[in-house]
Amino acid sequence: MKKNLSRRSFIKITGAGTAGVIAAGSISKLSGTKKVVKGKSGSKVEITPTYCEMCTFKCAGWVYKKDGKPWKIKGNDTDHHSNGRMCTKGSAGMGTYTDPDRLKKPLIRTEERGKQVFKEVSWDEAFTYIAEKMQNLKKSYGPECMALLSHGAGGSFFKQFIKGFGSKNIAAPSYGNCRGPREEAYMLTYGEAIGSPERTDMSNSKCIVLLGSHIGENSHSSQVRDFSTAIANGAEVITVDPRFSTAASKSKFWLPIKPGTDMALLLAWINVIIGEEIYDKKFIKDNTVGFEQLKEHVKKYTPEWAYTETTIKPEIIRETARLMAKNGSKTLLHPGRFTVWYGDDTQRVRAGAIINALLGNWGQKGAFFNPQKAKVAKYPHAEYPKQNKEMPIKYELANLALASGICDATIPSIKDGCSFKGWIVYGTNLIKTFPDRKNTLKAIQNLDLLVVVDILPTEITGWADVVLPECSYLERYDELRVSKGKKAQIALRMPAFEPLYDSKPAWWMAKGLAKKMGLEKYMPWKNIEEYLDYRLKKSGTSLEEMKKAGVKTVKTDEPIFYSKGEQIEFDTESGKVELFSSVLEEAGFDPIPKYKRHEQPEEGSFRLITGRSPMHSFSRSVNNPILTQLMPENEVWVNSVVAKEWDIKHGQYIKLKNQDNIVSTKVRVKVTERIRHDAVYMVHGFGTEQKKMRRAYMKGASDSLLSTKVLYDDIMGGTGFRGNFVTFVI
């Protein structure tokens, strides 16, 4: 019912691909229009357009070759993701191409799963093996028992393939292990999701509130740029973080909150803003439902009460609330991105969404804009087969499939629905991406087929039956980037180099597999160039043009902002912003966020909190030959008083042990004032246990390994990572 309503516009976020009928194409030789620039020293410089795959933010840029050799990567000036300036990782993208540890040939497992003994095979052998297994699975269990777990551009082609095969069970970690709670919270409140890149107009903000978003270290290009632009223009920042993050150092207020108590602070802020009547009365009256209930609900959440939970002083809570209100709709309480923390995450993000409503900043300059998106034609293909069995739904309000849900549903103990028997894993290192490794491995051991498509011998490849080596993003055409933003833009990725070794692009693999299994009608294009050119030509441009420009801006007529005081039609059940959510109420959840106390560490143990380094992306960059020169390992941040108590020195290597007695690899200590005494901090992605990743092997420690406890979001099933506690092993 209502939830279907909310499902409608949201599902667009992951806009999948297409399909049709024709024979398998070959990878075309590097051809096309490349700009040739003469360098001063007489060297020949060639540039080719791409968009970045160092993380999933997809900034568009140019790949530079000097005399045919890899040189550098630079942002594309017209691109709204990068504004011509790529982040650290994007600038180091050449490292993925030059990394000598890359996967080189298709591999088939020869011994017990996880032992990592493989034989090199030809592509045809690999495809034959997979096709046979998949046909068998289809016969015994139905096509729905195959799932695709995918994170990254090329996953689009495997989506086409697996849908053609007869399964719609596709999930990405970017939902259940990342921004799911945020998207659901905004769906529930505003009827629209935030999306990526975020629809935030931070550059024009006068006041920015960051709750555990460490922009700056979280280095998504345009977010960082917007943030620093705002600061340069005098915006006042309030950063709520147990750690003195980079963003905190740029802030007027740093609120070193006790981890896990953000909800108390948010509710107290609402209490102050409503109590002091400093909210946007017109917006609330015209555009929201449930204000009176909210007012009543937050009465008990006074700043004095919140102080005891959060350790943030009442006067600071009041002062910051007033600062937000003073700047009104030019205040942005950032919705965050990685929001799977403590299990009540949808509710926590919703509390922030409610504050934004009180500030009346939806569709307003300096806060949220209405994103534009280019319409790009699909390539016609035969209609996908109907799916008979649905994936078991544990979380009714989840709009997207949960990657960890697929994992759980692979373990037979789950009663209803189908149990997955085969996975295709594209561009996601599930061993490090999921918490609770034991559970992941249990699921994997229950599979009849695990196909991993990757570029590096990361942890997940070690568990595969078949490993398909993809070429890096610099060596391939890929799906078009059609993303949302202030401008509607299309970006092209084309190869700058021939694929090294025996690696191949995703489109070629998916199409090859489709051919092998007689599913060509779902991917009926001759080859990738034909596929892209068809779609581009239908959309007012062409492959030729895109090769020259890299990025194309498409004119749209919808305004990106509402005028102040305008009455807005929201895509919620009530058509208004739902301060009180009847959808939640009906489904048995709190219609207005409530405070729930979370477990706190015992004496001598510390909450494990994690985040990003601007120099790395998750686990995918830890072997990058350029980035490892800047940051070869992660450190564990320990408060200086704690370090003294434990007699731990700065730079010393220690191990961490979590509440389930899991012990990490050695990690160097950073003794610092920059973190609370009750938490330790680590950058996610390190502690590689794969010998074949020679630069990364045993460097630093893995937060994933220590995250054995999962605090599931009861509304959408997100995997809360932050309920883990560690102590030191010296």
Binding site: T229, T246, P625, L627, Q629
Partner: protein, 179 residues
């Protein structure tokens, strides 16, 4: 006479180190060596903390001790400017210049000669700014001629509070930090 300099906004800089990667790729700086780097300086006690983040490199000092220390003239100031450069085939690898730089900006290349930031003079000749400045996502780095009162660097220095690093070392550095 050009006096090239940089004005770096520590308020904008987030320490992302994109400038370091850009320099490494643009100038093909060998593995493990850095022409620029990023420093975080924290003062205070929890929870009253202050942090300055800044990117550093050779200051192209007007009174460059590395040039005067060089026995062979390999280290020199590029004609008509303050850009300090090294001519590899004049360099003996004696490291006097490395020892004489108070900013620790120099290093020895695997081939044996001394090297460091060149202010990307090859790009200046093409009318582009330094690579590090051109990628900085926050546009914290501004490059220009300090002798020209109308240049952006001069205007920034007039408008904002700034400092140089260890001016007391007496080298007349040409990189300024807005604070």
């Amino acid at each position: 006479m050009k006096k090239y300099g940089m004005v770096i906004d520590t308020i904008k800089c987030v320490g992302c180190s994109a400038c370091v990667v850009a320099c490494k790729t643009e100038n093909e700086v060998p593995e493990g060596l850095h022409r620029d780097w990023v420093v975080e300086e924290v003062s205070g006690k929890f929870p009253n903390l202050f942090m300055e983040i800044r990117t550093e490199r050779c200051n192209h000092c007007s009174d460059a001790p590395c040039v005067s220390a060089c026995p062979t003239g390999a280290s020199h100031q590029k004609e008509g400017s303050n850009i300090v450069k090294v001519t590899p085939n004049k360099c003996t690898g004696c490291k006097a210049c490395v020892a004489s730089c108070p900013y620790n900006a120099r290093f020895i290349m695997p081939e044996g000669y001394a090297s460091k930031c060149t202010f990307c003079d090859h790009r200046i000749d093409e009318g582009k700014g330094p690579a590090c400045a051109s990628v900085c996502p926050t546009e914290a780095i501004t490059f220009g001629d300090l002798n020209n009162p109308l240049s952006k660097v001069s205007r920034l220095l007039r408008a904002r509070k700034h400092k140089a690093l260890i001016p007391e070392a007496g080298t007349n550095p040409n990189i300024f930090y807005l604070t």
